[in-house]
Subunit: 430 residues, 2 copies
């Protein structure tokens, strides 16, 4: 096979055969095909897409490039949750322990902050001692013994995806539905799960800007899940404003503790319960959403979700004593408020700009090797629909680098639209 | 500047700024930008195109990546001809000496066979001793002293184009009008010419399949020529059948000798005269096409075109004595005829297939390091519109490798359409 001809087939809108895809993905992974041919193919896929058969083959090739977990011997429903990413989205940290407390097994592999969005791993790593880099054996053992582990991607799982993702990141080919689909699903399927719930975010702070794109991505993910025997349910949620009270690192952990103890903000809990209900229903532990929400509320109220969270932290070498007085840790050295320039109702929040401002504060990375500031974050005191007066504090910003704080604040003017009309925000989309 | 962001700009259909293009082209040429980012950008350009300003900047960057010639001190109109490539197209070999005999200075840099088409350099190199690899100094001196030199691309001229072209060749990004335009024009402008005539070929044996694509390419080339002060005239000719009596290597040289001595086939001469007329008119040596054709015919009849050709061969170390008995050289060891399967009129010739068959014979290359067979070629005894009887010889095939001869013949059935209706072929298109 001639690589340039395979590239031309995709360039000209043809579906690639399984043989062509295998030749290209295997060749690239083992180093016999050069980066420059893979990046040309990725850009052609960006423009011409892939049909479901091609995505399924791509997923299989990524999956079989590495190891897969097998939890079929467990007497538990094995499941995971994936979010397409947003600002203030700490739901994995809450939902994982909550579902493990319900008896599900949760082998969760998460990512770091990407672009303007935060990353579960970066947040978890603010817990002193917490290890996100377990070996596959440690990961397996954690899931088998306590029902949950939350780790980062390892070299053993989907190395083809890892290599291709790194190339996509530097060649403008991240935003391609078939490539996103193959990348997400290969890693999830490798976890050995039976069920998956997807938080598909849309809006001005999401990677998918329109409901149509989100719907297309969800359709593809669900059908690839079916192909590989993973029951997959999508939930569509809005990223037209940050989720919850905080966006940042340690501050999001504090919000997560609150959520697990029954004091979480309504929006964070609504997304958590909606996603959790899908998996509890899949697992046969609830007959409908109302029953599933009731079960989740009970597990929070009786302390078992929070106890499971402490158990997981301890099991991954995290310092659980810090949870007894969490507000003493990671105190920001610098603080500044962003206030309302006029009076009125908040009409809209430019969540992408706000996300970029959190990255400027030190919550995320522009380059892969940038370091993060665990003290950094924002507290959102007012959101869409709230009535505000001129000079009232809208966002409380904090970190430990005054230069970066100013840089972040310089991004905020104009990011919040205030007008005379009342406004509303729909969180869960149908 | 962040390379991935520049790629994304083009991917999203934006015009790149001069700074962005400079950053990318210079960075790639000096090795600071990796080929995988360049190939992603090239594929994005393939899909999203470039406006004339971008193409002009691209051309300038390629041009200034290397040396340029300057013939402004010569008391002659300095000009060249470019063809977009075809089967049996030996016009450069005839037109160069013919125009030099008319007093023009012709610094011609040509290419090798590409895909299914033949290459001027491969044909010239069948002359024993002939050097196509002159240094820039030798090239300059040849043009100054005898008015013509025909060489291959050197490392000094447009190295950025050379590096980018090699990448395009292996990443499915050759067929992009802005990239073709930048590549052609940078090299031609580097020759230090005042005038350029373009043979834009269309039809089933051309790279541009439709009149619309050909027109677009021509428009772009002419306007880039204008930007750089090179008077550029396009001529549109058909590649719906091979040009002339022969397609191959030494056999095309023999046809070229015939043309320069006044015995050329009508179609080859028509294209030669049409192209030549444009440059003679530009140079002020003819008032109109009729006068220009008369001048060219005179230069052939009086032997001065042929004499200039001998002078050029001698000047580039070729063995001129071979011209006195040219049919003794490069005699093919194998010959076989392709005959008409039915009686009727030739309706169409699949010139792309015929071109591929000449490559199979040994006239061109599939890979850059393939060697060519100087004895290889085809003689076309009948063309579109000719009446033929079943079993009559249509194409005479020859080379010095019987296996390759069979391979070439296997491509020919179906390549010539014969039907009951008379048919015609328009060579020069308006």
């Amino acid at each position: 096979m001639i690589p340039a001809e395979i590239i031309q087939h995709k360039r000209d809108g043809k579906a690639l055969t399984a043989d062509e895809l295998r030749f290209f993905i295997r060749g690239y992974t083992d180093g016999t095909l050069p980066d420059y041919q893979m990046s040309a193919l990725l850009m052609a896929i960006f423009f011409k897409g892939m049909d479901l058969r091609e995505i399924s083959v791509l997923t299989e090739l990524m999956l079989t490039s590495g190891e897969s977990m097998d939890f079929s011997h467990l007497n538990a429903y094995v499941a995971d949750k994936h979010s397409t990413g947003g600002v203030g989205d700490k739901v994995s940290i809450i939902l994982g322990p909550l579902l493990a407390a319900a008896g599900l097994a949760i082998p969760m592999i998460s990512g770091r902050g990407l672009g303007h969005t935060g990353g579960t791993l970066d947040k978890l790593e603010t817990i002193p001692g917490f290890r996100t880099g377990l070996s596959l054996d440690e990961f397996r053992q954690a899931v088998e013994t306590i029902g949950i582990a939350m780790i980062g991607q390892t070299a053993d799982i989907c190395p083809a995806d890892k290599k291709i993702y790194a190339l996509r990141d530097v060649t403008g080919t991240v935003q391609s539905i078939p490539l996103i689909c193959g990348s997400i699903m290969s890693k999830k399927i490798a976890e050995g799960i039976q069920g998956l719930v997807l938080d598909i975010k849309t809006g001005n702070g999401a990677f998918m800007k329109t409901a149509e794109q989100a719907r297309e991505l969800a359709d593809h993910l669900v059908r690839i899940g079916q192909d590989f025997g993973v029951k997959t349910d999508p939930v569509f949620t809005s990223m037209n404003q940050p989720l919850g009270r905080f966006a940042g690192l340690w501050c999001e952990m504090l919000e997560s503790f609150d959520c697990l103890c029954g004091y979480g903000p309504a929006d964070t809990m609504e997304v958590t319960y909606t996603l959790g209900s899908k998996l509890l229903f899949q697992a046969g532990l609830a007959a409908d959403e109302a029953e599933a929400i009731e079960l989740q509320q009970k597990l929070i109220t009786d302390g078992s979700a929070y106890a499971k969270f402490r158990e997981m932290i301890h099991n991954q070498a995290g310092d659980v004593t810090i949870l007894d007085d969490p507000t003493t840790l990671h105190q920001p050295a610098c603080r500044q408020d962003f206030t309302a320039p006029v009076s009125g109702y908040i009409q809209a929040m430019n969540t992408y700009r706000i996300g970029l401002a959190t990255v400027s504060l030190g919550c995320g990375r522009l380059k892969i090797n940038d370091s993060v500031d665990p003290t950094a974050g924002m507290e959102f005191l007012r959101k869409i629909g709230d009535e505000v007066s001129e000079g009232q504090v809208l966002i409380h910003c904090f970190n430990s680098d005054s230069g970066k704080l100013q840089e972040a604040l310089s991004l905020l003017p104009g990011a919040i639209t205030i007008g005379p009309e009342p406004a509303s925000h729909q969180l869960i989309l149908k």
